[in-house]
């Protein structure tokens, strides 16, 4: 790492209607360093990087890239100046294949035609360098969100940029993939490539970053060397107070059985799953990407029409043929893919939170009880500290993490008795994470049965009292969280059954 500044952003200000997203922010990046950009949800991290890449126009301020002041009109100009960005919210074309997505706008040509041979070769090379097994010819819409994230990474890396922005690249990745990504980052560093790294996982920051810049409420809080700081200080800078432990000491009080799944099977998705959930406990489900955890959850939630097996709720057999059936019986599901399955982006925050309870709790005769709806929305905005100018803000204008909180609010509003959380802390800041953990404790205290699917093993280990491990569409075994460890889980997750 040299001392040469490749990037300087000075006094950057950016306002959206009703929101001052950035307020005279400074940021500098040195050649060959990995520089973490931290802050709570909605602090302005993504906005700062979008301003840098010519996606948003700044109101004020100065950007100097490799010594020259720049004024990017669009992403193309930023690309030409050697900048690349991995978007937080995936920006891929569903019906095009992996190779076409990665090289979109930068195709190799033979005459006027695309040189597909070269294109697939190059793609295979990039994917191999990333160490992931994705078919260059697969369509994006057929990939799960983790693989899509790897494609987004490959797209940015393949641009051979010398300033690379990574906006929460690991939020959809499993540990293995994260390790691969970190190896890649090390190699890029050796090539003197500078990286801006945004993440809500502090341990990652300490593992790969050299320096840290912290934003709060659109303002620059400070810049520190990783070697000269610790988690507590960073958290303090981010949230303005200290947070005790990362994980709360979960207290379970398992009561009677609330959900029993017997021999549940879905063609091509789930093989013969049986498990049990009690009131007042957290059942973790671990597994590698594509192991079928999401499918299992969706099968219980009534998403698939073709399924066999039985689901018992409080000992009574249930016919769940649609999400509506599931919700009616108090079973709710938080999707891992908020953009595609969780939110109506064009509607306000309030409408998204209330949608599942309009005909039950919020009904005044035939009308929606507008006052109650507003109250409901405001309660969750406060409870989960959703950062939004008002409950009428369109969800698409919220930061990624705050969008996630809106989906959680929607789920909680149904007052569920069984809660299935699929990657609930994806893209959520430390403070809010802790709030969600507390919320889980609260649910458990109220006798709710919680199923937690997470790719962060520490999360599963610390928050569950029992853990199911899946491998290739099958439940491989069950572990007691109290005496399980990561190695044990990984063994099951890679297909080695325990005795």
């Amino acid at each position: 790492m040299g001392n040469e500044k490749v990037l300087e952003m000075k006094n950057i200000t950016k306002t959206f209607p009703g929101v001052k997203a950035l307020d005279r922010v400074n940021f500098t990046l040195k050649k060959g360093e990995v520089h973490a950009l931290l802050g709570e949800n909605g602090a302005g991290k993504s906005t700062l990087m979008k301003v840098l890449n010519g996606i948003h126009k700044r109101d004020e301020g100065e950007i100097i890239v490799k010594g020259d002041p720049v004024e990017f009109e669009n992403t193309k100009e930023a690309q030409n100046a050697g900048l690349a960005i991995i978007h937080q919210e995936l920006e891929l074309i569903p019906h095009l294949n992996v190779a076409e997505n990665i090289y979109l706008g930068r195709e190799d040509k033979k005459g006027i035609f695309i040189n597909y041979k070269q294109l697939y070769q190059n793609t295979a090379d990039v994917l191999e360098m990333l160490g992931v097994d994705i078919d260059p010819r697969a369509k994006i819409k057929d990939l799960n969100i983790g693989s899509q994230q790897m494609v987004e990474i490959a797209k940015a890396v393949s641009q051979n940029a010398d300033i690379l922005v990574m906006d929460e690249p690991t939020s959809s990745l499993t540990n293995q993939e994260i390790d691969i990504l970190f190896e890649l980052i090390e190699r890029l560093k050796e090539q003197e490539i500078s990286i801006v790294y945004i993440s809500h996982r502090l341990e990652e920051v300490f593992e790969i970053c050299d320096r840290v810049t912290v934003l709060r409420d659109g303002q620059f809080v400070g810049e520190v060397k990783t070697a000269e700081t610790d988690e507590d200080q960073l958290i303090n800078m981010m949230v303005g107070r200290t947070i005790e432990d990362r994980f709360p000491e979960m207290k379970f009080n398992p009561g009677e059985e609330i959900l029993r799944v017997e021999n549940l099977a879905v063609p091509d998705k789930i093989i013969d799953a049986s498990f049990l959930l009690h009131k007042g406990e957290v059942l973790g489900i671990a597994g590698l990407m594509g192991s079928g955890r999401t499918e299992l959850a969706k099968a219980v939630f009534g998403v698939y029409k073709e399924k066999t097996g039985d689901i018992y709720f409080k000992g009574k057999k249930l016919e769940i043929n649609s999400p509506a059936d599931a919700l009616k019986n108090g079973i709710s599901y938080l999707s891992e893919d908020r953009k595609d399955e969780g939110l109506v982006l064009g509607l306000p925050v309030a409408d998204n939170i209330s949608i599942s309870v309009l005909t039950t709790m919020l009904k005044a005769h035939t009308f929606i009880n507008a006052a109650a709806e507003k109250e409901l929305a405001q309660k969750y905005i406060e409870d989960l500290s959703i950062k939004t100018p008002s409950e009428m803000q369109l969800v698409k204008n919220l930061s990624g993490g705050n969008q996630q909180k809106v989906v959680i609010s929607k789920l909680l509003s149904t007052k569920p008795e069984v809660v299935i959380l699929d990657e609930p802390t994806r893209g959520i800041d430390v403070g809010a994470k802790r709030e969600i953990y507390n919320l889980m404790q609260e649910l458990v205290d109220n006798g709710v049965g919680v199923i937690l699917i997470s790719s962060e093993l520490p999360e599963v280990l610390n928050l569950s009292n029992r853990i199911l491990v899946m491998h290739e569409q099958e439940i491989m075994g069950e572990l007691d969280a109290a005496d399980a460890n990561q190695e044990e889980i990984m063994q099951l997750a890679t297909g080695r059954r325990n005795q």
Partner: protein, 320 residues
């Protein structure tokens, strides 16, 4: 004074004012026409215009809902003709009571719409194709039922709906405003309305929120059929004749009114207040060109140009 209600009122007024931004094109059009023709801004002519707009407007209300769910309905004109013909046939040929005949006519339109809805929601066929097919099928039914001849000659009771007045206000105008109000409330204040927006915004997420999206889509298409029938009955009454070819091409006018009114063709955003403004733009334009005696070929050019201009002004003013 009640604080809450005053607050609510203020909000409502602000919202309505904001809606009228969509009307800037209409406003400019009205001002220009007032200068160009002394006949334009007279009470009789304004009543004339709102009466003329009522047929298309009522269809457009249904179309707004369909488009909000992300669908489309090309069959409105044919459903209109079919319902009108059935109603007329019941009165003239079968000698039924007027109200019973109207009931049957409304049921006929609703049934066709229901079929559209089931084919779209349950069989998952593209709305464009389903309703295009319905457009020719319902037209065929109408021609078969009427044997290609108009059915004419109604009594005063039936003529009231299209040609009557309540005070100085033509009955179709009253019906139109009533429906506008009901559908506005439906869309803005009821769960069904909310679901209609949600489906258009993200159908998958809406389904996962526990909503039976199929049922709602079916309801919307059926309601659209019903509204086409209302329009058909008014038109039949107004013309004193059920025309087998009535309503041909109205689908384009209705969709144009919806889109001019700011509802996005991909669904999820917009509303029925914009739609009536869109329908008025078209009606005022037709009226104005006739009043100015623009010759018919040039009328086409002028009409296209003014519509472009109106939507351009609207979009510009919204960007501010």
């Amino acid at each position: 004074m009640n604080n809450l209600s005053s607050n609510l009122n203020k909000n409502n007024i602000l919202e309505v004012l904001n809606k009228f931004k969509t009307g800037i094109g209409l406003l400019v059009l009205i001002i220009i026409l007032s200068f160009l023709s002394p006949y334009f801004l007279t009470i009789p002519n304004l009543l004339n215009i709102v009466r003329q707009v009522s047929i298309i407007a009522i269809i457009s209300f249904g179309m707004t809902m369909v488009i909000l769910t992300g669908g489309i309905d090309l069959s409105v004109g044919s459903m209109l003709a079919f319902s009108g013909a059935i109603t007329a046939g019941m009165i003239i040929n079968s000698g039924l009571n007027v109200f019973l005949a109207i009931f049957i006519g409304l049921a006929a339109g609703t049934a066709l719409g229901l079929f559209n809805g089931i084919a779209v929601a349950k069989a998952k066929l593209p709305a464009f194709i389903v309703t295009l097919a319905m457009m020719t099928i319902a037209r065929g039914f109408t021609l078969i039922y009427t044997n290609g001849r108009p059915i004419s000659g109604f009594d005063e009771t039936f003529r009231f709906f299209g040609a009557g007045y309540l005070g100085r206000i033509p009955v179709p105008v009253v019906i139109m405003f009533l429906l506008l109000f009901v559908i506005y409330i439906l869309l803005k204040k009821t769960p069904l309305g909310r679901y209609i927006y949600a489906i258009g915004g993200n159908e998958k997420a809406t389904k996962l929120s526990g909503i039976n999206t199929d049922k709602i889509k079916i309801a919307v298409y059926a309601l659209n059929g019903f509204l086409a029938a209302v329009s058909g009955i008014i038109l039949t009454s107004r013309l004193n004749s059920a025309q087998p070819m009535a309503g041909e091409g109205y689908e384009l006018d209705a969709i144009a009114a919806v889109v001019l009114g700011g509802t996005s063709l991909s669904g999820g955003s917009g509303g029925v207040v914009g739609t009536i403004i869109g329908a008025l733009i078209i009606a005022v334009l037709n009226n104005g060109l006739n009043l100015l005696n623009v010759s018919s070929f040039y009328q086409l050019v002028a009409k296209g140009a003014v519509i472009l201009l109106a939507v351009f002004l609207d979009r510009k003013s919204q960007q501010q």
